[in-house]
């Protein structure tokens, strides 16, 4: 069990730019949370505090009962896995198998357990046929899957996915959304940083909206997409299906229909 606790977080970069200001948020084990906002709003800075990649300038961040100020990324990464937006920033091994094994060796697992997990994860993510291939010979979307699989194989309680669907096509997006559902069923906390509103609407239960370094909304996607002032302030557009149900007046006040399935049921 790893709850995340952020209180009065401020982060100032060495060049003096304040990226996150006075953020308070608690995330319980098993929640599916998305973090949204325009580029430069502070969302990536915020989530990088959860595995110690960044340390607070002011305030506190707790990962379970660990104060991130007092523990290294190495220790925190066992609890919180961070999947980079750009797999090239993460992948360096010369085969997919080595890449998947790397983190597992690092956390001190025995050889047979490493083999078991690599087998399992490569089947789950359709990577079996690429195990001996150099990741850089694979296309971007499969490489992105490798980056995600290598983190999930370590079985952290919390998984942070930074823009998982960017640059992915229809099937790639589908595979990633399926993986998120599986993690949810396993009781993992999933935190997604994303501009992909259908994903935010359908696959997460709670949205944190960052705007100009501050957390300006913390609530359900349903509530967010019916909150005009927040949407205007942040230039976020609801999924098309949500806008449609609002226009024809079948959604209730302060509630939105979030998927084609929901809309079909209600009509």
């Amino acid at each position: 069990m790893t709850d995340l606790n952020v209180s009065k977080l401020q982060h100032t970069y060495p060049n003096g730019v304040v990226a996150v200001n006075n953020v308070n948020v608690e995330i319980k084990q098993g929640e599916q949370v998305s973090v949204v906002g325009q580029n430069g709003s502070g969302k990536t800075t915020l989530v990088k505090h959860w595995n110690g990649l960044l340390k607070p300038t002011e305030g506190n961040v707790y990962v379970g009962d660990l104060d991130t100020m007092e523990h290294s990324v190495n220790v925190l990464a066992r609890k919180v896995g961070y999947v980079f937006q750009n797999p090239n920033h993460q992948i360096f091994a010369s085969s997919v198998r080595d890449e998947l094994e790397f983190g597992l060796i690092n956390i001190g697992l025995k050889e047979d357990e490493i083999k078991r997990r690599v087998d399992l994860i490569s089947q789950e993510f359709g990577l079996v046929e690429y195990l001996e291939t150099n990741p850089y010979r694979l296309g971007f979307s499969i490489r992105k899957t490798v980056g995600m699989a290598s983190i999930i194989a370590m079985e952290p309680d919390v998984i942070v996915l930074d823009e998982p669907t960017t640059g992915q096509d229809y099937l790639g997006i589908k595979a990633i959304r399926l993986a998120i559902k599986k993690l949810k069923d396993q009781g993992k906390t999933v935190i997604v940083v994303s501009h992909d509103m259908p994903l935010v609407a359908e696959d997460t239960d709670r949205v944190l909206v960052m705007c100009d370094t501050e957390l300006i909304f913390d609530g359900t996607p349903s509530k967010l997409f019916s909150d005009r002032s927040i949407l205007e302030k942040t230039n976020l557009l609801p999924p098309q299906i949500t806008s449609f149900t609002q226009k024809i007046g079948i959604s209730k006040e302060n509630e939105s229909l979030l998927s084609v399935e929901d809309a079909a049921k209600t009509l």
Partner: protein, 276 residues
């Protein structure tokens, strides 16, 4: 009047077994807004790169069949020369930046062509205005937002006064504001300036609104060509096969066809066609 004619075009990269394009034939009319759709590896990028001559002139590949762009044969003329007729925009604008200021960035291509100084200045002013970046002349290309960078890349292409603009996933690395900026500039270039636009893009809801014609590629072949109204309703049941999503309202109408007069592809159409 057709500005692009492609007949039975086949492209194979060295060391690849499969053809990246496999017998593609198509024609594009002056002033059309054409969207290329398809899964990764379907051939969208290769088609874009064949139209601007980068394949095979800069990225080597075997090419068969016929290709004609504004009366030129792209493999037979230098890429730089074709760029005065066909502007190209890619998915990573930062990659295209090299100069210290926005002004110099736009000037670069023109200087390379040996264009006169007064013409250069006039073209830069005009193209920065078209993309809404007037006043940015002295800024650094590396210190502006992603959407601004992509519009700067568009200005650099526009300064050469092209008749065709090719955009390969121009918004995939942008946030919602950046996407909106790039889409609205692209649309006004098409509608106000009459440029022919060819864009590879995954955002089907936007494409359904903007495009006159969709070209659906599948494993290097053309699966279908038609208007969004013709194509999307047809593919509701085959989204997985072709690796392309349809707009959410189209999907809804296919589940609840009894509630709609006809199958919509845009939000406005959906509202109009909904019978309640």
């Amino acid at each position: 009047m057709s500005v692009i004619k492609v007949e039975n075009l086949t492209v194979q990269y060295a060391g690849e077994e499969k053809n990246a394009l496999d017998g593609v034939s198509l024609e594009i009319e002056k002033g059309e807004f054409v969207a290329l759709l398809g899964a990764h590896g379907a051939g969208k990028t290769t088609l874009c790169l064949s139209l601007n001559g980068i394949v095979p002139n800069m990225i080597s590949a075997d090419m068969y069949g016929a290709i004609e762009v504004l009366g030129e044969i792209p493999p037979k003329i230098p890429v730089r020369q074709l760029a005065t007729k066909v502007g190209s925009i890619f998915d990573n604008p930062e990659f295209q930046m090299s100069q210290l200021t926005v002004f110099e960035e736009v000037a670069l291509g023109l200087q390379n062509l040996g264009v006169e100084k007064t013409t250069i200045e006039k073209n830069i002013t005009e193209s920065l205005k078209l993309v809404g970046l007037e006043g940015f002349e002295e800024r650094s290309p590396f210190e502006i937002s992603g959407g601004q960078q992509q519009r700067l890349a568009m200005a650099s292409a526009l300064a050469m006064k092209p008749e065709i603009l090719i955009l390969d996933e121009p918004t995939s690395n942008l946030d919602p504001i950046g996407k909106e900026e790039v889409f609205s500039v692209t649309r006004s270039l098409n509608q106000e300036e009459g440029l022919t636009v060819i864009i590879a893009e995954h955002e089907v809801e936007v494409i359904a609104e903007f495009a006159d014609k969709l070209i659906l590629l599948d494993e290097g072949k053309i699966n279908e060509i038609g208007t969004p109204q013709e194509i999307f309703p047809k593919f509701v049941e085959h989204q997985e096969d072709v690796g392309v999503r349809v707009p959410q309202v189209t999907e809804l109408a296919s589940k609840k066809y009894e509630l709609f007069d006809s199958t919509p592809v845009t939000l406005d159409e959906a509202v109009r066609m909904y019978k309640g």
